[in-house]
Amino acid sequence: MNDVTNNIEWIEVGKIEDIPKLGSRLIKRAEGDIAVFRNSENEVFALLNRCPHKGGPLSEGIVYGKTVTCPMHNWCIGLNNGEAVAPDEGCAPTYPIKIEGDTVFLSMQPDNGCDK
């Protein structure tokens, strides 16, 4: 576990307060934007900003519990695992998040085996 952690390259993305509670902010990048979510428990999650259904921007969805609902066709995606909630099937890549104090760090290496 430590080995893996040590090999991860962390990028500082901002303060936890910068992300609205039950909301999301975007990390823009050429390879596809990453949406960073904050839930009511102050947990932070990162997903590729593409719904596995038809590519809708998950960052614009409504957040509750550990789920975001895509604004395009209401697919519900798990924030912690990127998996679509049954009976829908599919997944969005998730990215590791680390919080130190109130600062949020992100790694660009997807960690749920969904990086197609």
Binding site: I11, G23, I27, A30, I62, Y64, G65, C76, M108
Partner: protein, 813 residues
Amino acid sequence: MKEKLILIGNGMAGMRTLEELLKLEPEMYDITVFGAEPYPNYNRILLSPVLAGEKTIDDIILNSREWYDENNIELHTDSTISEINRVKRTVVTEAGKEFEYDRLLVATGSNPFIIPVPGHELDGVIGFRDIADVDTMIQSAKDHKKAVVIGGGLLGLEAANGLMLQGMDVTVVHLLDSLMERQLDQPASEMLKASLVEKGLNFLMEAQTAEIVGDQRVEKVKFADGSEVDADLVVMAVGIRPNFELAQKAGLHCERGLVVSDTMQTFDPRIYAVGECVQHRGNTYGLVAPLFEQAKVCANHLAHLGYGRYEGSVTSTKLKVTGIDLFSAGDFSGGEGTEDIVLKDPNGGVYKRLILKDNKLEGAVLYGDTIDGAWYFQLMREGTDVSEIRQQLLFGQAHLGDSGHGGQNSAAAMSDDAQVCDCNGITKGEIVFAISDKGLFTLDDVKSHTKAAASCGSCTGLVEQILESTLGGDYTAPESKPVCKCTDFTHDQVRAAIRDQKLTSIQTVFDTLEWRSSDGCHVCRPALNYYLISSWPEEAVDDPQSRFINERAHGNIQKDGTFSVIPRIWGGKTTPDELRAIADAAEKFDAGEVHITGGQRINLLGIEKEKLPEMWDFLSDRGMVSGHAYGKALRTVKTCVGSTWCRFGTQDSTQMGIDLEKLSWGSWMPHKFKMAVSGCPRNCAEATIKDFGVVAIESGWELHIGGNGGVKVRATDMLCRVTTAEEVEEYAAAFVQVYREEARYLERTAPWVERVGLSYVKERILEDEAGRKALQKRFLISQNIAQNDPWKERAKGESAHEFTPLKVVGAGI
């Protein structure tokens, strides 16, 4: 240590209760189930199609043994419980094994009533209750020829039909002079008998069974009048008796059934009971829909939630004999104060009788043409006042004219490849397959498995009818649906709580109404946010995170993630300066397309989200505000040029449009809301398909309500005529406000008006002057807060985080 829950009776009612419980509290109990039959839970209602050879046993299994394993339920089949020991809190099996419980659920169902005539214990005399009976019948059909079914009720006729299809020569014996006398009146019963005779069944009416004769196996049935008929098999289907012997032996209070309260508890509060074995408020039930309602309530209490109540059920009946359409529901015994509406066409094979009392539908008997059964049943359950539709009532829902129901009742007649859900491309065949293959029972099940009715929802009625026709008596449309899976409360209950208890934030609603999930979900949060800000405009704070993205970002999100920008053009009247500003904005902010909308506005498409505030600032500087084309809000007021230019114009419709738009812009609504003002009855502004339409006439203005274009076109209802422009504004404000206060979230004016009735709206707006003025006043108070241009606010920096990325990595894009 988990509490132990024991279920006695592995049938539909008990198992449905466990399924409902697992949905609420999957981990609360260690569950053990005892069933006397050797099978896992199966669909007893479909025994008739099994007997008729239309289905197999495997087809009707509801919960496989794997299902029990997956849910950690210990299943004992072939295992009858012979004793409940309430002191030790144990149950004892026939084999003498003892099991402890903390809570016990009794669902022992019912037994067929066997008439105790001499010979009733001979071989070949059976009931029609379980798979073993069906096996016996199918076996008998192979070796024997003649069958007698005693009992001309629902069950008896289905048994007779099945035996006939298995090749037997069947005689139905009935004590009374008409078949299915509990469900059908005399004329319908006669028609039913005639068509069953034509199919090949024989009938002996008013025949009292005296004796069953035979040595080892049955040979004859003798009647009280001395006549007799040969028989190799006798099926007794004269009724069922709630099976409460075990409960009675344990000292639980029983009358005609095991007596339960509204919480499905017996007189021992640790012991619950559901299904055919219970007696609730003096009634026993033998159909499946009430059992499912009981199951839901019982599960609610087993899960320690404690707010469900069972208050009894209205039931309906459908005969599952292929080729015969028959439906009955409610009370059709007639009596004082009731009226009948009857259509009788014996040669055409159609009979319909509706029983009305106090302008409400009390009962319905349909034969030959049952397509409207579900609709009548719904009117009955909801207690709808039918006085305005009584002239068309008998002809069914399709004949209600332009009220938007057209095409809704064709479920049974549709072919399998007909598309039902036009949004997701789902055919009837796919829905039917999913219902039978996956064992679906509810609209929500069908929505999540097939996506039918999960988008625009306009096919919901059709999907419910397909459920109804696929499941037969198993499906009952829920009377009023909960807001979402987070709660059991309906929209109306939630709104009443917000109003009556002065709840002003989403969190207090969650706390007060004990929401099941801490943050709600994407379905309930937008609804709650709307109910809060519309009920308490001055107190409740809008929650942007509970709004759909379009309302949060004040633009319409497009399929590529860009947004559209539609500035308001008051009353559809614009100027060269405004057009120049729009043209400049389109160029400056790279609009991918410029489109004229149906509501007389200009749509600038393909705008990057990050550019929105700057673009709004640009438009704002040139005097333009948000058009709210993205919201559940007042959209546009469309007009024609009216008397200023038009040679036919009778009033200044353009100015009226501008005034109405100035009055109502910025207001949040249950759904989008559109208006139009036409300058003469030629109605060029199409005011009669708007939520609120105004048509100028020589003597003043005609006001129309409840219209829409869209998926299901509905022309408006005429509300009234008024003479002055002030009256138009007063009535418009009052109508908007009553809709805002009382319609359910996402319910447009058209279905709302159909639900509450035009006469109700007239009562509120026309007949109650003080009430109308109070509504207008409440609307104006709310508008004081709502009429701030959201674009200008954001151009000045509000919610900046919404429009800027948290970070740009590398070169960005």
